[in-house]
């Protein structure tokens, strides 16, 4: 739902640089020898250039961390998503204290609601301590969905005690744990969705771009059709059509499909544009004259030449999907509690009461921002480095 104006992306290949000039420049940029550069495979050239893109590298590191945490959510989260403590509803974040004799600890609190102001009041018992430690045993979980485990990276040493690193939600659940578990859905929905979009985009964009003519016109009209229907009704209509009998997993997949149905068109356009360009290249003509079958020409000769551009476009489509997931949840479509995703957590936070009295519940928004910005940096860096012979860096 963000209003991204569609603008033609400048075409980095539109003017042909002469080969020597380019390699010379690459030399100075990558600090590598000419032979190294001239003999390096394309992916290596991209990687060299990408590494010089500082923001992209930062983004990459953030993404790696996010995905590792999501993959091993059970281990990184201090609690699981169902454990709660009723009297700690709306407990504000507790920052661990540290002392050399006691290690990390927080003081336990007891919560009660003031009947006059209705505010939850938490009294800290400073005579007691909740000791926190690394690799502690706690709520059980299944690592990668395979291995039963109960060891958590950091948390209360006594599994019965509570510690709210980022505060508690309105049901007394640990927000940090929910954000970590929520990342599993939120971060994967983008990847799966883009994969589906890509498939659609590749097939339709590929056909359109390679064959041109009437096929192209028809597919272009279809794309135009999709693009002229405002996304919101498309979402609402499709999401409302998800059969209610479906479990969370199926709903999740369906939502992903819906997001990708809305998202494939721009990918298809990019792919078509690239194909149209490469179609005219001499090496394609050569392959054709050699009698190479069409499918093979597309997959072996043409695709690799613009794969990097596709990767860049894809990495920019992922964050859009992550944002869309939150929007769908806001609209009351898409996933709903008790499923845990960033969108669901944000939807719970969408109230004046939270903004005014429990602002830490907006933190899942920070997670969204982090992931989306990181993806954009990476995508941006990839786009810049995608064309190792181009002029931009």
């Amino acid at each position: 739902m963000t209003s991204q104006t569609q603008l033609p992306v400048a075409d980095p290949e539109s003017d042909d640089p002469t080969g020597t000039e380019t390699t010379d420049r690459l030399d100075t940029e990558t600090g590598r020898s000419r032979t190294e550069v001239t003999s390096a495979p394309q992916w290596k050239l991209i990687w060299w250039r990408f590494r010089r893109h500082r923001l992209a590298m930062i983004g990459m590191v953030i993404l790696v961390i996010l995905y590792v945490v999501a993959l091993f959510a059970g281990f990184f989260a201090p609690f699981n998503t169902t454990s709660y403590s009723g009297q700690h509803a709306y407990q504000p974040p507790q920052i661990p204290h540290f002392s050399f004799s006691e290690g990390f600890y927080v003081h336990p609190t007891t919560g009660a609601t003031d009947p006059e102001t209705l505010a939850p009041v938490f009294t800290e018992d400073t005579s007691q301590m909740v000791h926190l430690g690394f690799f502690v045993e706690g709520d059980p979980y299944r690592l990668l969905g395979l291995v039963d485990a109960n060891v958590h990276l950091f948390g209360p040493e006594d599994p019965g005690q509570r510690w709210y690193a980022l505060g508690a939600d309105r049901g007394g659940g640990d927000l940090l744990s929910k954000i970590i578990y929520g990342s599993q859905i939120s971060l994967s929905i983008g990847l799966v969705g883009v994969a589906i979009s890509l498939l659609l985009g590749l097939i339709l964009g590929g056909i359109s771009g390679y064959f041109g003519g009437t096929t192209d016109t028809v597919i272009q009209r279809i794309i135009e059709l999709f693009m002229s229907i405002p996304t919101l009704p498309l979402w609402l209509g499709l999401a409302a059509a998800v059969p209610p009998q479906w479990g969370p997993m199926q709903t999740y997949l369906m939502i992903t499909v819906i997001l990708s149905l809305v998202g494939w068109t721009s990918l298809a356009r990019v792919i078509r544009g690239r194909l149209l360009q490469t179609r005219g290249e001499d090496y394609v003509l050569a392959a054709k004259l050699d009698g190479v079958p069409t499918g093979r020409i597309i997959s072996r000769h043409m695709l690799p030449s613009f794969a990097s551009h596709i990767i860049a476009t894809v990495s920019l489509a992922v964050p859009a999907m992550i944002l869309s997931e939150t929007s769908l949840s806001f609209l009351g479509l898409g996933l709903r509690a008790p499923a845990v995703s960033w969108g669901v957590l944000l939807q719970n936070a969408q109230s004046v009461n939270v903004v005014a009295t429990a602002p830490w519940l907006l933190l899942p928004g920070l997670a969204v921002v982090l992931a989306v910005v990181a993806f954009n940096f990476v995508g941006d860096g990839l786009r810049d480095s995608a064309d190792p012979y181009g002029k931009r860096s």
Partner: protein, 330 residues
């Protein structure tokens, strides 16, 4: 050019027909209908409607007619009489509801677009000229963060800030004393006071994309031989950039302004809903949620038509500027 124009216009007609069918189909997808939605809303408040009564109403509203009959009723009235039907929910003609909201929607859309460009274009140009500088990175980060903040959240938080620190009456585009008042200078001032939150939220989110594109376009042009030539000939740098690369980089923005039309309608929906602005967005959302099909269908159709026409104009503009487009080569 003439041939291209006619060709292109002819393409629009089947597109519009299919869009109208799809629009109508989408709003019919969800289970239930306007009446069940109404009943549910009443029940939530402790009221109930007799199921027999419901059945009778359903027959009366023609809700149980098959899809094609409903579609035909709808589209033929639009084409033959310009009648978009009645909104069940508002009990008013759809066309009135839409037309009275269009001016504010367009005002909001245009204000947002101008705001976005006013921020993003200079930022993009500056980024390109000072490539890899701290400023370049800062602009990237700020742009992406603005894009990344879910806009419903941003709207709520800003609304709360307006309330908590400025004592502002949140919601709507007017304060209570001006809503039903005739237009006056004070009312315009009041409007501007309320306009900043939505413009900021929607506008900032859109900057990132334009900054990136502008930066890329500029970078492409900056290294072209003609720029180097001009520089070598001693043209002052500022003048050099203004005169050539800037103009060429801006070209696509001007000629594709038509493509921004859907974003005017789409971008505002959630924000306008949170802030209860009197634009088409909340109207569309409410209509979709309550399955007020003539209203929803009417809005979708109008947006789609505007989009198609906008794209058409953009394409024609592009073709006029760049002959390659006319021959399907670009």
């Amino acid at each position: 050019m003439l041939r291209f124009t006619i060709h292109r216009i002819l393409h629009v007609i089947p597109t519009l027909i299919i869009i109208s069918v799809i629009s109508f189909f989408i709003i019919q997808l969800p289970p239930g209908d306007f009446l069940t939605t109404q009943v549910a809303a009443l029940e939530a408040q402790g009221e109930s409607i007799d199921p027999a009564q419901l059945e009778a109403l359903r027959v009366r509203y023609g809700i149980d007619d098959p899809f094609w009959i409903q579609y035909w009723k709808w589209i033929s009235n639009i084409l033959l009489h310009g009648d978009f039907g009645l909104s069940f929910q508002f009990q008013r003609p759809v066309i009135d509801l839409i037309t009275e909201r269009l001016p504010l929607t367009i005002l909001l859309g245009v204000a947002t677009l101008l705001f976005t460009w006013a921020i993003a274009l200079p930022a993009g140009i500056y980024s390109a000229i000072k490539q890899h500088s701290a400023a370049d990175y800062t602009i990237s980060v700020v742009g992406f963060v603005a894009l990344a903040v879910p806009n419903f959240l941003a709207a709520l938080v800003l609304a709360y800030v307006g309330f908590a620190y400025f004592g502002q009456s949140v919601g709507g585009l007017f304060s209570p004393e001006y809503v039903n008042a005739p237009w006056s200078l004070a009312k315009v001032g009041d409007l501007l006071e309320h306009l900043w939150i939505p413009v900021l939220v929607i506008g900032l989110a859109g900057t990132a994309g334009i900054i990136r594109t502008m930066r890329a376009n500029m970078l492409d042009e900056l290294y072209k031989p003609y720029v180097t030539t001009a520089r070598a000939k001693g043209l002052p740098e500022g003048r050099n950039i203004r005169k050539y690369p800037l103009r060429i980089s801006l070209n696509p923005f001007i000629s594709t302004v038509g493509w921004s039309i859907p974003s005017i309608f789409d971008g505002e929906v959630i924000v306008a809903t949170v802030l209860a602005l009197g634009t088409t967005g909340p109207l569309l959302l409410a209509a979709l949620k309550s399955q007020d099909m003539y209203l929803a269908g009417g809005i979708i159709l109008i947006i789609a038509v505007l989009t198609v026409v906008g794209t058409l104009i953009s394409d024609l503009l592009l073709a006029a500027v760049d002959p390659r487009v006319r021959f399907g080569k670009a």
